[in-house]
Amino acid sequence: MIKNDNIKITTNDLCVFYDEKQALFDVNISINEKETTALIGPSGCGKSTLLRCFNRMNDTIENCVVKGNINIDNANVNNPEIDVVQLRTKIGMVFQKPNPFPKSIFDNVAYGPKIHGMAKNKLELEEIVEKSLKQAGLWSEVKDRLSQPGTSLSGGQQQRLCIARAIAVRPEIILMDEPCSALDPIATANIEELMDELKKEFTIIIVTHNMQQAARVSKNTAFFHLGKLIELGPTDQIFTNPKLEKTQDYITGRYG
């Protein structure tokens, strides 16, 4: 089982409904701090839904109802009184498709710090942007063209720009929703390397369809099926010696 000494997030009986349709059933999961947790499972199993619960992105979807507790640092964030703006400064998100703003590379990274007033002057802002881009491994490639539009970069670079944009706000948790599904193998390798670096500082939760990726990047893996958490455990164990047959079947590619 997972060691329980540094838990960052836990959920208690988390249920999510889209209208009448229930997407998640009584999910109880715990996620460790400064480790990478992978969520795997067949399409439509609710892993992205769970990911979007953590930063309350499901609020933007009409008719979506989330029930149960999500405790981050022992505070229930699934509480209408929680300010989602503050919550999202604590939890960054990287999406499936690279989605840079149609603005310059600099403005893309600077937007978060700017709206949160994290920089007192332009110099500080430039420092944050440089630090974030360096951390995302993009600085050497873009330092001479910060004023060019973010959309002019290649797909892999765009995704790293989005990661830089997310970490510029200095969150504690980074949610990644299939961040490499639109990228080629080389760009994917770059992002995976980057994730290895980032987990020293951030708690990372990644949704992926790529079993090998989950095995490579994550310390713990959670397997979902039809909206239920089937098995959660250390990645090595899940992939080599799963406790349940369902997990075994999925990892060996018998269904999915």
Binding site: M57, T60, E62, R88, N99, F101, P102, P149, A166, V169
Partner: protein, 429 residues
């Protein structure tokens, strides 16, 4: 080669059929484009052919003696005195000096005076008021000819038909020929067409009143419909809960876009004029009515361009901790701006060409004074075209075409502005 590639005769036959279909469709499309371009060329060239002469006028140069005895016998040089003086007498005296044979021949004098514009005496008065040192001097003045002479010079009058069937008598023709051989009849650019308002006399009628009226009306329409329309679209698209009430509003806005414009005119008449008692015939009320008419267009096109912004941009902003308002105004609206501008300009172009609703607001009227503000009575370009097209005088035919040219130019400028704005703000994903 086809036979080698294709698996069987059947497939070859069907691909041939498909290729023929594609060719047929392409040639049909090309034909449609050619027909459209042809009609456009016919329209523009007939406008140019009929209208360009409307931008020129005919002047006749004759010496005018600004007789001090008549203008200012007591040498006061007082403007009130000059204003009261009979410039008709000055005009007559100078004409008789030029044509002494008409002295005791009233009929001949009438024929001579008819070749000049009826506004000639005002022109003389204005000259003296502008420069009182003219009093007592004789100078050559280019007087504007009457519309009939103008048309005669432009060869728009067939002089071969019997005298009773044409607007110029043989006597007038004789004087015209005499002046023509003297070389005092000249063709000039008609700048006064752009300097004055409407007139009963075609040679004095100008477009400025209608042009400014259109401009003031459109400014009101733009200032009201753009912010209201865009904000409505943003609210409905981004903030409003999707329930039956907003759905009801949505359907009604779409329906309003299809309401005939004269109905908006009636609505404006009932509400703005009768209920609120706003002044009639002024650009303010005209602009208000056109705003009602333009709003649905602006709202619908703005919503369409907001919808076209990828939802991933909203998610990206929200995921960074931007509030809904920040996400919308920092990212979504700038991306949608080109579409909003284009929609607004299309709505404005429609408003510019609208006559029916303004008919009920009293803006289709004969107004001589050039409006100086949104509270002055004014007419608009299409209304001016309608009024001139309705006038029987031959001179108004070319004025009508000239006014259409001005309207089309106005539209071209507005549309170029729309294209420029779209290019400037366009976002490439």
């Amino acid at each position: 080669m086809n036979r080698i590639l294709s698996k069987s005769q059947n497939i070859e036959n069907s691909t041939n059929k498909r290729h023929r279909k594609e060719k047929r469709f392409k040639s049909l499309c090309l034909g449609a484009v050619i027909v459209a371009i042809l009609f456009l060329i016919i329209l523009l060239s007939s406008l140019a052919y009929k209208g360009l002469s409307g931008f020129t006028k005919t002047t006749i140069q004759i010496p005018i003696y600004f007789n001090e005895e008549i203008i200012d016998p007591e040498n006061t040089r007082d403007i009130a005195v000059i204003n009261k003086a009979s410039f008709r007498k000055i005009f007559k005296q100078s004409l008789l000096q030029k044509f002494p044979e008409a002295k005791d021949n009233r009929k001949m004098y009438r024929n001579i005076s008819k070749i000049f514009s009826r506004g000639s005496t005002y022109l003389l008065k204005k000259m003296v008021l502008d420069d009182i040192s003219l009093i007592g001097k004789t100078i050559n003045v280019d007087l504007i000819s009457s519309s009939t002479i103008d048309q005669l010079r432009k060869n728009n009058i067939n002089i071969k038909v019997p005298e009773s069937d044409r607007p110029v008598s043989d006597a007038t023709l004789k004087i015209y020929d005499q002046l023509n051989t003297e070389g005092v009849i000249k063709k000039r650019l008609n700048f006064s067409f752009f300097k004055y308002g409407d007139s009963r006399n075609p040679e004095e009628a100008g477009i400025l009143g209608a042009l400014l009226g259109s401009m003031f009306t459109l400014i009101i329409t733009l200032l009201l419909s753009f912010p209201i329309g865009v904000l409505t679209a943003i609210y409905l698209e981004e903030f409003a809960p999707k329930n039956k009430f907003t759905y009801f509003i949505e359907i009604n806005i779409n329906n309003l876009a299809a309401v005939p414009s004269i109905v908006f005119g009636l609505l404006g008449l009932a509400i703005f004029l009768n209920f609120f008692g706003l002044p009639r015939s002024v650009p303010l009320t005209g602009g208000l009515v056109l705003t009602l008419m333009t709003l649905p267009t602006v709202i619908i096109s703005s919503r369409a361009s907001l919808k076209a912004v990828p939802p991933t941009i909203r998610e990206a902003a929200l995921g960074l901790g931007a509030s809904k308002l920040q996400a919308v105004f920092n990212h979504v609206v700038p991306s949608a701006a080109p579409g909003m501008f284009t929609g607004t300009i299309i709505g404005m172009a429609r408003a510019l060409g609208e006559t029916a609703p303004l008919l009920l607001m009293g803006m289709v009227a004969f107004i001589v004074e050039v409006p100086t503000s949104i509270f002055d009575p004014a007419t608009v370009l299409p209304a001016q075209i309608y009024l001139w097209a309705d006038s029987p005088e031959r001179g108004f035919v070319e004025k009508t075409s000239a006014a259409i040219i001005v309207l089309v130019l106005f539209l071209i400028i507005m549309n170029s502005l729309a294209i420029w704005l779209r290019r400037k703000f366009e976002v490439r994903w």
